[in-house]
């Protein structure tokens, strides 16, 4: 009897068919991987399996028992716990309350705040989240918010847990911590449905894998029976090789005026030559994101200067950075990357109004044309340039953010976590776009927790507690980089 | 409740103004301190902005300041009862202006009869129209008692005396733009409109004239197409408009007399004097409305250009308060 089963479920959103007669079964006690390209319908299936939405057709059951009606939230909660792809942390509430939302410990009918804080502190400590749990959750950085969600889902004591791209926002440490917890729970008989775009993770911890493609079920098999190439072929529907190795780029001459020059910016200095790709690595709280956000003007530095070519940037001014030729992908696409209610075309061209017309006027035709080009260039799955980005799947939203960063043909490209939540093929597209930008002469800075993102870099700068501790040319080994990031010098 | 005498040793009187957003009441507000000085009264004033809950609060504030008597103009004549009984329990006499409380005791009610306004306007229009035709009435707010009295009296009089006149009642919330819009719409539907009764000149005068001007209906009384207009209040602009032949009549609400006699009676009450029903020395009569409530019904003359209409006075009459404002 499957722990959870979907029987030919279908779901449409307007004209979009998100799921088309998909059936799948999750065997008790296994970790079941669900993979597929961005927009394949994975998250939609999750929302059906957790009762957030009712299927248009088909049924969902748990342990052979039909699922409760959508209105019965308590019924669903008792059967399945979930970490959703879209954050369900409520920013205004305290961290502790987010962990225990709707199941706060009570004494004589009233919530025991002290007990709750203690329990939350304890629970989160096990995940390495050492924060003051009485502060509002919105004060946490995105990784820690993600850990709060994971810790919460796993603490329900459910026998069936769904994790929708839990690792997209996490660094290596946190990911291995998560896997250890999952393994422990699995040994107690807990069943998982695990969604990730990192196929390595699928091979590392999953038993079975199901592939969705274009809203349809393609394959379910034991992980050991499918090779990575087969998996990618199933996802993309075409037999191709894996990621092309980024190695064979010509070496960049580091002479002349650098594309980007950072001088003593809150104590950090670095240079990026035109055509060069530089990676910036560091473990949690190394300050790499803060540094990158300061460079692009999202934050104001206390001291130091940034030059793009010869031009000195006004501190803390994004418009100045953009007009100097910086393009960037912010870390949190929901917060800073996208205006969800506006169309794909409008988001993709938001940084370049001057390209759309003169004297402050914008041509909708020109905008949609540029939008269509971006959709093609970045392989965005959207019904057209006029579709609101809110309706896109997470990975496709990320591609729109990338398109926006590239819209002004930047001479300096700064990418923060550029491939978070992006499928294998899309990752390839995005990194290829970065590489092409470099080939056209842009200096590229990639800041990421995902080592795969750093592979195309000519050199990787390692940050530890705000200072540069190491620099590695291309060809580094994962373990040496990780050691450097942890502050262990060779 | 420390009944401290005022610093000057003069009796301390509390006056609550009902509202400060109409020309009529603002004239009243201006007269009150003048009259108080003349009568030798020390004043504490408040403004209840047409809100009876605020009036109650204001009266509480006045009594905590030790006033010896209160003048008020409750726009809601029913809701004031608890306040009156509170004041009575503290032996603080009350004079009400413009309205008569439905229940409770007051020393004196000083008012002109709002029903009489409506009736006067009706009789004037009825005669001028020769007993037939269409008339628009710009009403105030249904929830205002004065407005309602004028409306009811006007309607009853029309029904009884000029049954062939058709009346269109237009509720306006005392707002000029609403009045202009509804009047415009009514004229579109009834281009043969012959008369207008405006229940408040300060609010409706300019908008009405402007609508008529736009429709080229603003012609002198000698013209057959003339639309007869009766206004209400007696502010200077109305008197000017009458003189200019733009409107035909108004009912002069005695803002000055309201202030004068309210304070006069209050001072008398503080001094322990009493009054009896009967004629007064200022062309009015005191009547007993019910036990415990006397009412001095002040004259509110109809004003016309020449004073020829029976019972009316001339617009240029210097005794009108509207002609005394500087």
């Amino acid at each position: 009897m499957p722990a959870a089963a979907a029987e030919s479920v279908s779901k449409r959103f307007g004209v979009t068919v998100a799921l088309d007669q998909v059936s799948m079964q999750v065997v008790p006690g296994e970790i079941h991987a669900l993979v597929g390209r961005n927009g394949a319908g994975k998250s939609t299936l999750v929302s059906l399996l957790t009762g957030l939405q009712a299927p248009d057709a088909g049924t969902v059951s748990f342990d052979g028992v039909p699922a409760p009606p959508v209105a019965d939230r308590a019924g669903w909660r008792s059967r399945v716990a979930c970490v959703y792809q879209k954050s369900t942390v409520i920013g205004e509430l305290s961290v502790a309350e987010n962990v225990f939302l709707n199941r706060q410990p009570r004494r004589r009918g009233l919530i025991g705040w002290k007990a709750m804080r203690e329990q939350a502190q304890e629970l989160l400590a096990a995940w390495g989240v050492q924060v003051e749990v009485s502060q509002p959750a919105s004060a946490l950085p995105v990784e820690q918010r993600q850990l709060v969600e994971i810790a919460r889902a796993l603490s329900y004591g459910s026998r069936f847990i769904i994790l929708d791209e839990p690792t997209a926002q996490l660094d290596a440490d946190a990911i291995s911590g998560l896997f250890a917890k999952m393994a422990a729970l699995k040994s107690q008989g807990v069943t998982f449905l695990f969604i990730s775009h990192h196929l390595a993770e699928v091979y590392q911890i999953c038993d079975t894998v199901t592939v969705l493609r274009d809203a349809r079920h393609v394959l379910t098999a034991p992980v050991s029976d499918v090779s990575q190439a087969q998996l990618v072929a199933a996802m993309t529907g075409e037999a191709t090789s894996l990621l092309a190795p980024p190695g064979n780029r010509a070496r960049v001459e580091r002479s002349g005026v650098p594309a980007l020059k950072v001088v003593e910016l809150d104590g950090l200095s670095l240079e990026i030559a035109a055509g060069e790709i530089v990676g910036l690595a560091g473990s949690g709280s190394s300050g790499k994101m803060t540094a990158a956000e300061t460079i692009v003007g999202l934050r104001k530095a206390a001291s130091g200067t940034v030059y793009v070519g010869q031009r000195k940037l006004r501190p803390g001014s994004v418009p100045d950075a953009l007009s100097a030729g910086i393009g960037f992908v912010p870390q949190d696409r929901h917060r800073e990357g996208l205006v969800a209610g506006l169309s794909v075309a409008e988001n993709a061209t938001m940084t370049v109004p001057e390209k759309l017309g003169r004297a402050g006027f914008l041509s909708a035709k020109r905008r949609d044309q540029l939008g269509t080009e971006a959709i093609e260039a970045f392989d965005i799955k959207a019904s057209g340039p006029e579709q609101p980005v809110a309706d896109l799947s997470g990975g496709n939203q990320q591609k729109v953010v990338m398109a926006r960063a590239m819209a002004n043909d930047p001479s300096v490209l700064v990418l923060l976590q550029p491939t978070a939540g992006v499928d294998v093929r899309a990752k390839e597209t995005l990194l290829a776009a970065a590489t092409q930008a470099a080939a056209r002469g842009a200096g590229v800075l990639i800041v990421s927790d995902d080592l795969d993102d750093l592979r195309p870099a000519d050199r990787v700068i390692v940050l530890y507690k705000g200072t540069i501790v190491d620099e590695m040319p291309r060809g580094w080994h994962d373990h040496t980089l990780i050691a450097a990031m942890e502050g262990v010098t060779a | 409740n420390s009944a401290s005498p005022s610093d000057s040793g003069k009796p301390l009187a509390g006056v609550d103004f009902p509202r400060s957003d109409s020309d009529f009441w603002n004239s009243y507000i201006k007269y009150v301190p003048q009259e108080a000085t003349g009568l030798g009264l020390e004043l504490k004033t408040t403004n209840s902005e047409n809100d009876v809950a605020k009036l109650t609060a204001n009266v509480q504030a006045l009594t905590s300041q030790g006033v010896k008597g209160v003048v008020m103009a409750p726009q809601d004549t029913a809701a004031i009862a608890p306040t009156l009984s509170q004041l009575k329990s503290k032996n603080i006499p009350v004079v009400t202006v413009d309205t008569r409380p439905d229940v409770g005791e007051v020393f004196m009610v000083v008012r002109a009869d709002n029903r009489a306004y409506g009736t006067k306007a009706c009789e004037f229009l009825g005669q001028k129209l020769g007993g037939a035709g269409k008339v628009a009435m710009l009403q105030g707010d249904l929830a205002s008692i004065n407005g309602r009295d004028r409306t009811e009296a006007f309607n009853e009089c029309m029904k009884a005396k000029f049954p062939k006149i058709e009346v269109f009642g237009l509720a306006t919330d005392w707002k000029g733009d609403v009045a202009a819009n509804k009047l415009q719409t009514t004229i579109a539907a009834h281009p043969d409109l012959k008369g207008i009764y405006m229940q408040a000149g300060g609010v409706f005068l300019a908008p009405t004239l402007q609508v008529l001007k736009q429709k080229s209906m603003l012609v002198p009384p000698t013209d057959a197409k003339h639309v007869f207009i009766v206004s209400n209040d007696g502010i200077p602009q109305e008197l000017k408009a009458i003189a200019a032949g733009e409107i035909d009549a108004t009912v002069s609400q005695p803002a000055d007399l309201y202030a004068k006699y309210a304070l006069f009676y209050l001072k008398a009450a503080i001094e322990g004097k009493t009054f009896q029903p009967g004629a007064t020395d200022h062309q009015s009569t005191i009547i007993q409305v019910r036990p415990g409530v006397l009412e001095d019904q002040l004259p509110a003359p109809l004003v016309t250009a020449d004073g020829a209409f029976p019972g009316s006075v001339k617009a240029a009459d210097p005794a009108l308060w509207g002609n005394q404002i500087k």
């Binding site: 709707n102 009233l110 | 507000i29 004033t45 229940v103």
Partner: protein
């Protein structure tokens, strides 16, 4: 929580400032009699503020409260009063006046819930429509006149004195205290914050968002009806305009008190300080004998200053 608690107290400096100014303007201000008067004057409308604060925290707004405030006792009076001088139907015994008042509040809340939660219409505009309809109904049934000669039962709560204080002060304080506890220490209360903060996340956490919204809308109608009943008792009548324009004051109080219009933020205690501040200002202006035509401007200016004070003391941008 600590930050929230600090923000709760944001208005205290402003209230103290007003108290000092009030005393300087007129020493009567600090007399216990005057202060009790202020508390009583705000007690009825404070229930509207309480209701609105709950609805706002849950991420909605209910403009119709000001009309419920008048219509609920109005309907009761209409059904109970004998036809005659006072305009009424006289089809119900006087003893039913209070139940009918409260029931009217519940029914209005139900209608709001039906339109907002069930039919998913825009809450602002639904309740704005309801505001107009309900106000219109009161004008209609009362013919624009005031209901008076009300039955004793309707007058009791607005006039009774319990242990030296007017009953309406007690009721207001008790209800605020109860809802401070409910909002802060019960799952229902916390679910209001969760829904107001992020309704999808609240649903995902297993909160029955629809049911909570229904409850809070009905509760708001009930509180508004009770507030209207208290005022009716104090004024011994129901004016056709009862409550008209009150919603401005109610929003001002809630927002000055730190309740966010975007939902999920603010406390019941804060809302209480908000309405208290507004009434203290009114009282000081009245005692100060400010000329009638300048009261409005001063009143607004003081609200703005209180706001800036709150901004300075809480030290963060407001939403």
């Amino acid at each position: 929580m600590k930050l929230a608690r600090l923000r709760d107290l944001a208005l205290i400096p402003a209230i103290i400032a007003i108290a000092v100014v009030g005393y300087l303007v007129n020493p009567v201000f600090l007399n216990s009699e005057n202060l009790i008067n202020v508390l009583q004057q705000q007690s009825e409308i404070s229930l509207l503020v309480l209701a609105q604060a709950l609805v706002l925290i849950a991420g909605r707004m209910d403009l119709s409260l000001e009309s419920t405030f008048g219509l609920a006792p109005g309907v009761a009076a209409w059904l109970v009063l004998a036809p005659g001088i006072t305009h009424g139907l006289g089809i119900l015994p006087p003893g039913l006046a209070i139940p009918v008042t409260l029931a009217a509040g519940v029914v209005i809340g139900l209608i709001n819930g039906l339109l907002i939660v069930r039919f998913q219409l825009n809450g602002f505009i639904v309740t704005l429509g309801m505001l107009i309809v309900l106000r219109g109904l009161l004008t209609g049934i009362s013919d624009g006149k005031t209901f008076f000669n009300l039955p004793e039962s309707m007058l009791y709560l607005g006039n009774a004195v319990w242990i030296g204080l007017p009953a309406s002060i007690w009721l207001s304080l008790i209800l605020f205290t109860a809802f401070i506890v409910i909002a802060g220490y019960t799952r229902f209360g916390r679910s209001l914050y969760a829904i107001g903060g992020n309704a999808d996340a609240a649903r995902a956490a297993g909160i029955r968002t629809d049911r909570v919204l229904w409850t809070v809308l009905i509760l708001a109608g009930l509180l508004a009806a009770l507030g209207g009943l208290l005022l009716t008792g104090r004024l011994a009548s129901v004016a056709a305009a009862q409550g008209q324009g009150a919603i401005f004051t109610v929003f001002a109080a809630a927002v000055i008190g730190g309740v966010s219009l975007n939902g999920g933020k603010g406390t019941i205690f804060g809302a209480f300080t908000g309405i208290l501040l507004l009434y203290l200002v009114q009282n000081v202006l009245t005692l100060g004998g400010v000329p009638a035509q300048w009261i409005g401007a001063l009143n607004g200016a003081i609200i703005l200053i209180a706001l800036m004070l709150a901004r300075v003391t809480s030290g963060r941008a407001q939403e």
